[in-house]
Symmetry: C2
Subunit: 240 residues, 2 copies
DNA sequence: CAAGTTTTTTTACGATCGTTAAATTCACTT
DNA sequence: AAGTGAATTTAACGATCGTAAAAAAACTTG
């Protein structure tokens, strides 16, 4: 379990020097301290925006003394970036799977199943969408939030996955618009569900609200998806 | 210019006791210290999320010593709430005006003009939409961000203005969905324009990006608006 | 001008932040 | 069992935060 530190540190452990690291094969449920920290940090960072979250909160969540966090991560920003990276990777891999077996179902059923899978993911893994939603707006050119490039990449990755998974033939411009609009609404309605459900007078995890989200995504996105699919239908439908 | 303080403060000025306050009639360009503070705070709060913004930043922006802020506002939270209230009020009043003279134009031209006015407002007054976008996601039940009720109210007010200004006859449920989707996209694309423009490879204030925003709003919302208008067209079209 | 009040500045307190460094405990080899 | 290096805890530093209190300045009113 070699932690990475920034240079010029006296007690730094000098990673991967000549130790046979056997951390990748543990297999059993035992979690490393590093994973424990990342997990706790993802909880804190999904409930508090970056500057409201603190290292001490994360330490308490992980049931460790907070300076230990600096032993595994040189700075708070580095930890946040790591959480962001992991979070986006989890979402990215899940997103790929949501497209599986959709092409045989046609637009309506395919879209419906995709949204069901998305909502199911958001229910079982609420952290990724919350972290993204919490920090997305602040990700500008200026370095207010660390790792804003990762947040930018999130949308671009989602678009590429869509293009690879769905046999659309429309203009790139239209595909970009479709995926951006879809993901914007998904991140907002599922990542900030407390807010929107509150507006609608619902509970954020209620079937009522989840149905509202699905219906909204469907009625707004599906017509454009069908149009994009029709353009490419004659060429390679059912492929991929 | 009597400031309001929280109780139990020795130096508190005891507001509105027997002073003839003549602050509402000044008319001339001279701004009061209180207005100066609110203006500076709106700048800071539109560029930094609540916990990243500091009283000292606001003092520097207002070119005053920061403790003076506490003379006019008991706490940072109170100042933020005041900024939020003012900001939302400005947006609310502007929103009412954007509907003026639209009913005679028909759905397409009316919607187009409304969006033009909205985008024009966002360009000339970028602070309101940025403040709302920056703090919207964090506005949950818990008191992470002060004044979250105001942020909830923002969407509800916008919906009521829409209902009063446009002769729609659809179900409340559909109207609610339409306005929520519209405002969600508007707040995101205009309040977090740096982020979305970055994704699209554009500049956030470029005509290219603003056209993208308008086209997206139009292609997604307009069909549903037309449908809602058709339902009520036979009854009272052109009214209001 | 003098007295009193309001506004602004100066100074500083207590809390919390991220981070560092030293002390301590733990795991493991010899 | 002793020694060694990694992991963890303890303690603390410097910075910044929001806020309070007192001092100073500016203004109002006799």
């Amino acid at each position: 379990m070699p932690p990475m530190k920034r240079p010029l540190k006296k007690t730094q452990p000098v990673v991967n020097k000549n130790k046979k690291l056997h951390s990748e094969d543990d297999g059993c449920g035992k979690k490393t301290t590093r994973e424990n920290i990342i997990n706790a940090a993802s909880i804190v960072f999904s409930n508090f925006p970056y500057y409201a979250a603190s290292i001490r909160m994360i330490g308490k969540e992980a049931k460790i003394d907070h300076p230990l966090i600096n032993y595994y991560f040189p700075t708070k920003a580095a930890l946040f970036e790591e959480v962001l990276r992991t979070t986006i990777e989890v979402y990215y891999q899940a997103n790929i799977q949501w497209f599986e077996g959709l092409s045989a179902l046609g637009p309506e059923k395919g879209f419906s199943l995709y949204v069901d899978r998305l909502i199911d993911f958001a229910l079982n893994h609420p952290k990724p969408m919350r972290i993204i939603a919490l920090n997305l707006v602040q990700a500008r050119q200026s370095d207010i939030i660390p790792g804003y490039q990762l947040l930018q990449q999130f949308f671009l990755d989602a678009m590429q996955t869509f293009i690879r998974s769905v046999p659309v033939k429309g203009a790139d411009f239209d595909i970009q618009r479709l995926t951006t609009n879809f993901n914007t609404m998904a991140i907002n309605y599922l990542g900030a569900s407390d807010y929107y459900a509150g507006i609608l007078g619902m509970e954020s995890q209620s079937p009522e609200y989840l149905k509202w989200v699905k219906d909204s995504l469907t009625c707004i996105i599906l017509p454009w998806l069908k149009q994009l699919l029709e353009d490419g239908e004659t060429d390679n439908r059912g492929a991929g």
